[in-house]
């Protein structure tokens, strides 16, 4: 049972480039989330989804886009990368009832 799988683990981008962070879960969870973690700032919610075809903005959505075509996958798209998007990105999933988030191991992104 893999849980939540994120790829890539590390990536360096140049300013203005675009990329997609992949996230997949095999727990049949309806809810999925993208958080970013910056030193001394905790984790902040970027986007979330309550099921296939349904997404909504979190606290810091600017510069990002998401899609949810299947229950399993929740990719995060960065358009026109900026240095402010240098961060560690975590994908998480949960059932609708327990509230416990299951996190992936993170994707460390550096924008130069």
């Amino acid at each position: 049972n893999a849980g939540v799988t994120q790829t890539p683990k590390f990536r360096i981008l140049k300013i203005g480039q675009s990329m997609t962070l992949q996230c997949a879960q095999d727990m049949n969870h309806n809810y999925m989330y993208w958080y970013r973690q910056d030193p001394g700032m905790g984790l902040k919610l970027i986007y979330y989804s309550v099921g296939a075809g349904i997404t909504d903005k979190g606290e810091v959505p600017n510069g990002y886009n998401v899609s949810r075509s299947t229950t399993e996958d929740f990719p995060l798209r960065l358009e026109l990368a900026a240095p402010s998007q240098t961060s560690v990105y975590f994908c998480a999933s949960s059932t609708s009832n327990t509230g416990e988030l299951f996190f992936g191991e993170g994707s460390r992104l550096t924008v130069l």
């Binding site: 989330y33 905790g42 975590f90």
Partner: protein, 114 residues
């Protein structure tokens, strides 16, 4: 009003001692308060959580104390062990409809010295 303030930023405790991390919130609509533990290079993992209808919850060496009137909650780690060295995040959920939309504190890095 959506913030959760966590202190201290870092904490050093001797093995066998008690580690205490505090959090404060403003939004009275918060109704779910989890603590997450994160080891270097890993994602956070749920440690323990509480809802505001109880003042304390204990799981093994970990206890959450909750003070609804003061809008504060804290994590106590009894008999702290070197294996407890990690970063701890408190969090709060702004409503029972989706407890995954968490507002996280800034994090506390705990080091337990042997």
């Amino acid at each position: 009003q959506q913030q959760v303030k966590q202190s201290p930023q870092s904490l050093i405790v001797q093995k066998g001692g008690i580690s205490i991390i505090n959090c404060a919130y403003e939004n009275t609509a918060f109704d779910y308060f989890p603590w997450y533990q994160q080891f270097p290079g890993k994602g956070p993992a749920l440690l323990i959580a509480i809802r505001p209808d109880v003042s304390e919850k204990k799981e093994g060496r970990f206890t959450i104390s909750f003070n609804k009137s003061a809008k504060q909650f804290s994590l106590h780690i009894m008999d702290s062990q070197p294996g407890d060295s990690a970063t701890y995040f408190c969090a709060a959920s702004p409503g029972s409809s989706n407890t995954g939309k968490l507002i996280f504190g800034q994090g506390t890095t705990l080091q337990v010295k042997p």
